[in-house]
Amino acid sequence: MRDPYEVLGVSSSASDEEVKKAFRELARKYHPDNYVDNPLSDLAQEKMKEVNEAYETIVKSRSGGSYSSGYSSSSSSAYSNYSGSGYSAIRAAINSNNLAYAEQQLLGIRDRNAEWHFLMGSVMYRRGKLDQARSYYETACQKEPNNMEYRQALQYMQTGGGSYRPSHYSTGGGGMTTADCCSSLICADCLCECMGGDLIPCC
């Protein structure tokens, strides 16, 4: 196994707080929710496992005793529980990115129900054909309006696919940059001097 500190991207002398923060950021990055139906979801799962193991190793070695378990990822495969009919082989093919086989099998089916459209959408999505995928998901939802799996897939398309965003790029600037800090201090100093005082003697 790789050096756990290297996996989390912190130095071995980092504080517990820093280690935790690094772990949380990576867990947020590789969370399965960011890789729903993604052709790279298996790689993300591996990364998530590596990050979890690294964090547990560090915590265990530092505390030497019992510890509260790290982040546990929720549902592994998106398709584990849903299929009833003979679509399970096709679902398995899609999950392992065997898209050519999955598509060929689907095209051979004449009775095209909601599940057919949903799985076709899934094949299209993994191929990068997002517009067509959305269209298939819409049809699936029309045919079976109460199916949560299809509804969630459609919603995901409608919102443009949720994704991880690094914390230093989070929108709604609440943070201050060093430039803000400097200019605020200079302003405060000027105001102070106007009032007869002096906040920063050298300015």
Partner: protein
Amino acid sequence: MFGYIRPSRGELKVKHYEYYKTAYCGLCNTLRRRHGPAARFTVNYDFTFLVVLLSALGQDPSFEYKRCPASPVTKKCAVCETAVFDLVADQCVILYYHKLMDSVSDEAFPNSLVARLSAAALRRAYKRARAALPEYDKTVVQKLSELSALEGSNSPSLDDTADCFASILSASVSHYEDDELRRPLELLLYHIGRFIYLTDARDDLAIDYKKGSYNPLIYRFNLTGGELTDADADYLTATAGHSINLAASAFSLLPLKTGMEIIENVIYLGLPEVWAQVESGVFNKSEMNRHKENRSNN
């Protein structure tokens, strides 16, 4: 080339922006060395992005100072050329050449004449590049001809037309043997390619409609005027944004080193910014004018 792949300069640290420029210079030098001085005019920031991305997977770069025709007095700092630079330079020449040949047939006089002369100047370079990368050239030719056929039949499919271009970009790395690198790279480049195609369609919609040229948006959204309805514009923004998000998901899985911040900035900030500018009609394609804009904004 298209000019849509650019970082959000204001949010990029100076040292990273400087590295980005040295990569551009390195690419230009590679083009000159491998393909002669005429090939230099193919250098562009889209391929600079590609060379930064692929170089970030390798060793730390080294730098050298070189003379530059665009900078007659001071020497410019450039990244030392590597096998990655050679690869990207060859791909740049191949794609640029085919794009010129398309212009020869698609554009009217005098643009077609300019394209014809430029293609002639580039022909030897193209043949050399094609000899180095025969599979890549084959893919480019095949995908461009598929695209031509779709355009000729007024295809209403955003995905199929975008796929032709996106596949060309992801073909840049199809020879990478390591699955754990190749798969995320292919997905990242595919969706960046899809984004470029959609942005180009959005950018050119008004002109294409006026000239009667093909634009996938016209047929996809059944437009009767040269503009999208608000609902259609939102739909298009969602699908373009989705491609950016998929590119981001692939980026997270790549062990990038020097230059990582540039790629990160492009994906999370640059591309959305470009889309917003194209939508509101303020996007400026010309790199020269962009520098002037940046200077006046600072």
